[in-house]
């Protein structure tokens, strides 16, 4: 008989609870970045500097947004598959989610290079500083998410399966991934669609 060091008075596992609190704090992080953008949005720009709405490519960004939304679906399917004991399905959906995340990032990369070529950049105006820092941090979060998905995938491959214990990790990575998605939902609307 052994006494466990870890108990659970709330009925929610420690790491899940911890993840929700962490995500709650991330609202303050992204909120500050979005606020920045909104503050600088309407201000006059120096000559030669394009306005955001002058160069946004809405169809392209809409497609990127859709890709990210669908990656949330595949994430949830990965978790569901693990719940059902379908190891192959889990691996497939994890990889798909990572792939969609990378697709999204590639789109961001492409978009940013286009903007840069048209005269936008980190140092040309505060609104552009805000834009790139905001979307840059969001992209970095997506990238970290992709890394975590790939770690889960490789654990599954290495061990032949993801055990019950790892199931929680899939859920945690999922929560993180969906959070990054909802931040994008806000960014897409507030930054791209509302002048």
């Amino acid at each position: 008989m052994s006494a466990h060091a870890i108990g659970e008075s709330t009925g929610v596992e420690n790491r899940k609870l911890g993840m929700w609190f962490f995500l709650s704090s991330e609202f303050l992080f992204f909120g500050a970045l979005i606020t920045n953008y909104m503050l600088f949005k309407g201000r006059d720009l120096p000559a030669g500097v394009p306005t955001p709405f002058g160069i946004y490519d809405i169809p392209f960004t809409s497609f990127s947004s859709f890709v990210l939304l669908m990656s949330s679906l595949t994430m949830v399917l990965a978790h569901h598959a693990l719940h059902e004991g379908d190891q192959r399905g889990t691996r497939t959906w994890l990889l798909t989610t990572a792939g969609l995340g990378l697709t999204f990032l590639a789109g961001q990369f492409f978009e940013f290079s286009e903007f840069y070529l048209k005269g936008a950049g980190l140092s040309v105006a505060p609104v552009w500083s805000s834009f790139f820092v905001l979307t840059g941090f969001h992209g970095a979060h997506v990238f970290i998410g992709v890394l975590m998905l790939l770690i889960l995938f490789s654990t599954s491959v290495r061990n032949g399966e993801l055990s019950e214990a790892h199931g929680l990790n899939v859920e945690l990575v999922g929560l993180y991934w969906h959070f990054v998605d909802i931040i994008w939902i806000v960014i897409f609307t507030v930054v791209y669609l509302i002048p």
Partner: protein, 102 residues
């Protein structure tokens, strides 16, 4: 892992389709403002409402919050509400100052 009742694959796919549709409507609104007589003032509240709906749908279904203990919803809400409130004040004050001094 969630012990409570989980949504089925069918439900997830329906949710995803709904999200796609809402996004399409948002983009549609953007173009309506560009090319028709719809004013931004009309479109903005709708856009914000659509974004909020997508937000809540992902949180509720994909993040499973609808089926979890209320503690988690409250946890999540604190951050969102605090962020919304604090930054609204900053934006308001900065914009008013800017307009006063411009």
């Amino acid at each position: 892992m969630a012990e409570t009742q989980s949504p089925t694959i069918k439900l997830y796919i329906r949710v995803a389709l709904l999200l796609g549709v809402l996004t399409a409507i948002e983009v549609g609104l953007f173009y309506l403002v560009e090319f028709t007589g719809m004013t931004q003032a009309m479109a903005t509240p709708l856009l914000l409402g659509l974004a909020a709906s997508k937000f809540l749908i992902v949180v509720g279904y994909f993040m499973h919050l609808k089926y979890e203990k209320p503690l988690l919803s409250r946890t999540f809400a604190i951050g969102a509400v605090l962020a919304g409130g604090l930054y609204a004040v900053v934006i308001a004050d900065t914009i008013v100052s800017y307009l006063n001094n411009a």
